[in-house]
Symmetry: C2
Subunit: 316 residues, 2 copies
């Protein structure tokens, strides 16, 4: 779309902030489109949008947080395919309340994460909005063999790469302006995309039957990996609970398990593997198992309870 002269000036400044030399670049940022030499293997693309007052509020998310997170959630999708990110496009609808220095902090933070993950911001759009900030990021990556959500078998174990439910505790603490809960707040504002796990997962790619990133809570995402005509048992005593989650649950007389089951935005990876290979994944957290019996169950050593009511974002 047409840009205003003020947008042009800002775009020029941003270009200098983000542009990096790259041997794959054929036509750099600043033309009608960005052109690059393909990477070996397949191309991987994803795109994820964040809307003010829907996904975040500006009172508890800084420019740096948002620049980081808008890219991180896409990098998480790239990691969840067993892929590597290369190029990033960012579209911003910028309300007048945000200053040029806010914008500079936003791009500085995003460019830093891009640098740290060996990718580059190469395009996108900058426009004004009447009142709300909207951020939409797309990432182009590549992979040799995609690891998909489909492929889990009955009997497979479900593993998580890290604590679940923690980001939701961070969100609550931020929204209620509650002191402490620093790890939870960090998890919510600056989730780490698990690109660090990709090299090892690719070496074990014939052992990983299915993979995805966990952004909608363990139950909602676990169900997306369910084999046909199968069920899922979650191991209550094994669920990866962070100390902040336990502390929050204790203070508010809530069940910490609920946060793991229904809380979202942890951006940890979930994988399904054959039980006899569990020894190869000892750093992962065993959270469940796919079963012949249909339904979703929460089990501990005393009982197995069916979960029949499915909840989403609005649960808490």
């Amino acid at each position: 779309m047409r840009n205003t002269p003020k947008e042009w000036t800002l775009i020029d400044k941003i270009r200098h902030r983000v542009q990096r030399p790259n041997e794959h670049t054929v036509v750099p940022l600043g033309d009608d489109a960005f052109v690059f030499k393909n990477f070996p293997g397949y191309s991987v693309i994803c795109q994820d949008m964040m809307v003010e007052n829907v996904h975040f509020r500006l009172d508890y998310c800084s420019a740096e947080d948002l620049g980081y997170k808008a890219l991180a959630v896409n990098l998480s999708d790239v990691s969840a395919m067993g892929a590597r990110p290369h190029f990033v496009q960012v579209s911003l609808a910028l309300p007048k309340k945000l200053t040029e220095s806010w914008l500079d902090d936003f791009y500085k933070s995003m460019a830093q994460l891009a640098d740290n993950t060996q990718c580059e911001i190469v395009g996108g759009d900058l426009t004004f909005s009447e009142d709300k900030l909207i951020i939409d990021v797309s990432v182009h990556g590549s992979c040799e063999k995609p690891l998909t959500r489909k492929g889990a078998c009955v009997g497979d174990l479900l593993l998580s790469s890290g604590p679940l439910g923690l980001s939701y505790i961070g969100l609550l603490a931020l929204q209620k302006n509650q002191p402490g809960f620093l790890a939870a707040k960090m998890k919510h504002r600056r989730p780490t995309p698990r690109l660090d796990l990709v090299p090892d997962l690719l070496e074990r790619r014939f052992e990983v039957h299915a993979m995805m990133d966990c952004s909608d809570g363990l139950i909602n995402d676990g169900l997306r990996m369910l084999p046909a005509d199968a069920g899922l048992v979650l191991f209550k005593e094994n669920l990866p609970l962070h100390a902040d989650t336990l502390e929050w649950a204790r203070l508010h007389h809530q069940d910490a398990t609920d946060f793991v089951l229904w809380g979202g935005e942890d951006y940890e990876l979930l994988i399904a593997i054959s039980p006899d290979l569990y020894g190869h994944f000892s750093k992962w957290h065993l959270v469940g198992q796919f079963t012949e019996e249909k339904g979703v169950f929460l089990s501990d050593k005393h009982s197995k309870k069916e979960i029949s009511e499915f909840k989403g974002w609005k649960h808490f």
Copy 2:
């Protein structure tokens, strides 16, 4: 970002509406990311955002118009590199005032344009917004040899593939709810990306020194193609004026030339070629020439006037 259960249901419906079989697809829509086999040549990516009440209003743009246009403006960027589009990602922040049937019309229209231009909608995001509609589209294409904005020489002619200023007349007629001006309104709501010209331009790729699409008016975009230390003369009597533009200028006692110079969103292609090859481009409109004399001039057979005040979007 995390989606709500209502968003999941809508996403499933959209998936059925847009998904097409494709021999390049490795992992289809519905996983963490879309994975595809690369096309020969280089990859081309672009991304363009449209914001309600900044780029369009819902009282004069239907769901079908917006589904069409949000893709068309990106396809225009792809065509401006001499490239072909393959895959489309669409992010929508959808206000509650818009119905599911609105959304269905939006995707139906976008999918139709995608079908007509041999590309496929393969991903993106759907989220809610408090009040305004935001649309952000990215396109992945490929090309053998990119045709860039840079490369024009002093002496080169500047040509346009079609009428300029017409879209802006359409915008004014729509905003003022003025009857008639159907071609102008169509140009504004449903601009044709000039992918039709790409095959011929690729055959003549060694004759085309520079190319871009005209979205910010002839002067602003002509300046982007300017060789170093050069100027631009625009030929007033030659400017491609549509009958609707002439009629609007007559009715409102305005200079039709101004609309060509400063009006945007025509999405015609501009190319720079050597004057001795003009015969090869007889279907194009000759609009100007790059000169040794610096500055931007408007000339006719009687005079040559320097344009010293530069205007953008807010000109009219």
